[in-house]
Amino acid sequence: MASLNVRAAILSVLFLVLFLGAWQLATAPPGAPEHELTELELLMGLGAGSGGGMPAPTQVFSLAWEELSLAFHDGGPNDKGIGLQLMYSVGRVLAGFALAVVVAVPLGFLIGMSPVLNKALNPYIQVLKPISPLAWMPLALFTIQDAATSAIFVIFICSIWPMLVNTAFGVASVKRDWLNVARTLELSNLRTALFVILPAAAPTILTGMRISIGISWLVIVAAEMLVGGTGIGYYVWNEWNNLDIAAVIFAIVMIGIVGMLLDAVLAQAGHFLRYQE
């Protein structure tokens, strides 16, 4: 009997093959399309001999091969490789995320340690948290007057809340006993914060970071569709305007892969910081 992992891997590959097979069969009918054009296809102007709607997986693969071999090609504003576009997006996400860390972790620390501050700030946090980050975009564009910086601001504003809430919660729920250990050793407040509270709350803080970076990656695509210029969101929108559906599908897969990698990095970091009671 093969191990669980091997069996799961075989099943995974099987699903992929089935999916791609079905896709291939559905999108590569011999001859011209005979079905009625749907409203959407009409809208897209696809009916008129553009070779059918959905590209077949083979088409996507060959495009992916081309795109990946030119991943870091830079031929001007409308001709950047996918690698470059992803780097712009990741760069914005990391910049916004880093700013949010700088603000959210210390502030969360204060909120977690002071019940008064917690109560005082909680209503604002509760109101601000559910606001869609994109709703801030016009305000950001108006005040910052710069599209790229506005996108970073949007990332900042969406990634701050999970970290703030998690840091405050993690700090507030540090065990009394551990704090008492620090007190009986007469540790200074700073040392207590650094050597007792921070490691104790680290796993919770990191969970917040993981949620934040996940949301940031969701939001950056939409934000870049709005602000344009560079980035994977802009790439998707641009290819849609070119009606290059194969490129759109390829970009979607790449967004998924990069998002997974970002999460994996933080998951790995969390692994180091986790402790078992």
Binding site: N180, V181, P199, Q276, E277
Partner: protein, 299 residues
């Protein structure tokens, strides 16, 4: 002017109640002294306020009334003079066994080099028999081993007073016995002053020079200070055969069964020391309640 190493005077702790109810007095009129190098155990029913007293001595809680003088100085707030072994070991789970001890040692002597801190910490881990588990995290240690790391940590900072809150409460009887013996050995070497809470009468007789008996709460008082003069070194496996063992044990058990209730809120007063009792010599023994009874087996 203090004649004793530790003097606790008229200690009281009251907790406010919700609403307009008057505050509840956990204990009051608590007076006792401890000499340097003495091993004191305190026994009383659950909820009578033992942990509260210990927290006050540790400086983690402040009394509603009264004061606590150590070495001629009034004490307020926690300090490294007093080491605490908490009820549930309270090791930092992200640090190794050695890391936990050296964290305390490094805080106690900030001027020491890393190497010196490590060596000092290691010697105390060796003392509790954990030399080859120094790199294990608390989660990888058994309950008894964790408690031993806690003991090593508390002894390693060489406090003037060691406070222990039911340190062996969570351990099975066998492990308990082993660690009690280790504790006796370490104490025999270091002669630290110890104040320890326990629920276990046999443990108190094995370890203590004196046992303080606390009546039930609320309004708990320390009613008696029972002298245990079974000679040291004491051997856990043989102490039951000591002719005085059951006289002492019966006295303590009788207190817990009857007098802790009947004396509740009725003994002591401002400045009044608890009655010193020597059950063997028969001094200070109250008239009622000390009828000899044979209590078989273990508590």
């Amino acid at each position: 002017m203090s004649l004793h190493f530790i003097e606790v005077e008229n200690l009281a702790r009251r907790f406010p109640q919700p609403g307009r109810k008057p505050p509840v007095t956990v204990f009051e009129h608590v007076n006792f002294n401890i000499e340097k190098g003495e091993f004191i155990c305190i026994i009383g029913h659950s909820g009578c306020g033992k942990s509260t007293i210990l927290n006050v001595l540790a400086g983690l809680d402040s009394p509603s009334e009264g004061e606590f003088v150590m070495d001629g100085k009034e004490v307020s707030g926690p300090s490294r003079d007093r080491g605490v072994i908490f009820q549930n070991h309270s090791l930092l789970p992200w640090r190794s066994a050695l890391g936990n001890v050296s964290f305390a040692v490094g805080a106690r002597w900030p001027e020491w080099s890393r190497k010196k801190v490590r060596e000092h910490s290691r010697s105390y881990l060796e003392m509790v028999g954990l030399a080859n588990a120094e790199n294990k995290k608390p989660s990888e240690l058994s309950g008894g081993m964790r408690q031993r790391v806690g003991i090593a940590r508390a002894f390693a900072i060489e406090p003037k007073l060691l406070l222990m809150d039911e340190p062996f409460g969570a351990l099975d009887a066998l492990t308990r016995g082993v660690i009690q013996e280790e504790l006796l050995q370490i104490w025999g070497r270091t002669h630290q002053t110890v104040f320890m809470i326990t629920h276990d009468v046999d443990e108190a007789i094995l370890l203590a020079d004196r046992v303080l008996l606390m009546t039930n709460g609320p309004d708990a008082r320390i009613a008696e200070s029972v002298v245990i003069d079974i000679p040291r070194p004491r051997d856990r496996s043989a102490i039951h055969q000591h002719p005085e063992y059951y006289t002492i044990r019966n006295h303590l058990v009788d207190f817990l069964i009857t007098r802790s209730k009947t004396l509740q809120g009725r003994v002591g007063g401002p400045g009044q020391q608890p009655r010193t009792v020597n059950p063997v010599k028969g001094t200070g023994v109250p008239e009622r309640g000390s009828t000899p009874r044979v209590v078989g087996g273990t508590g």
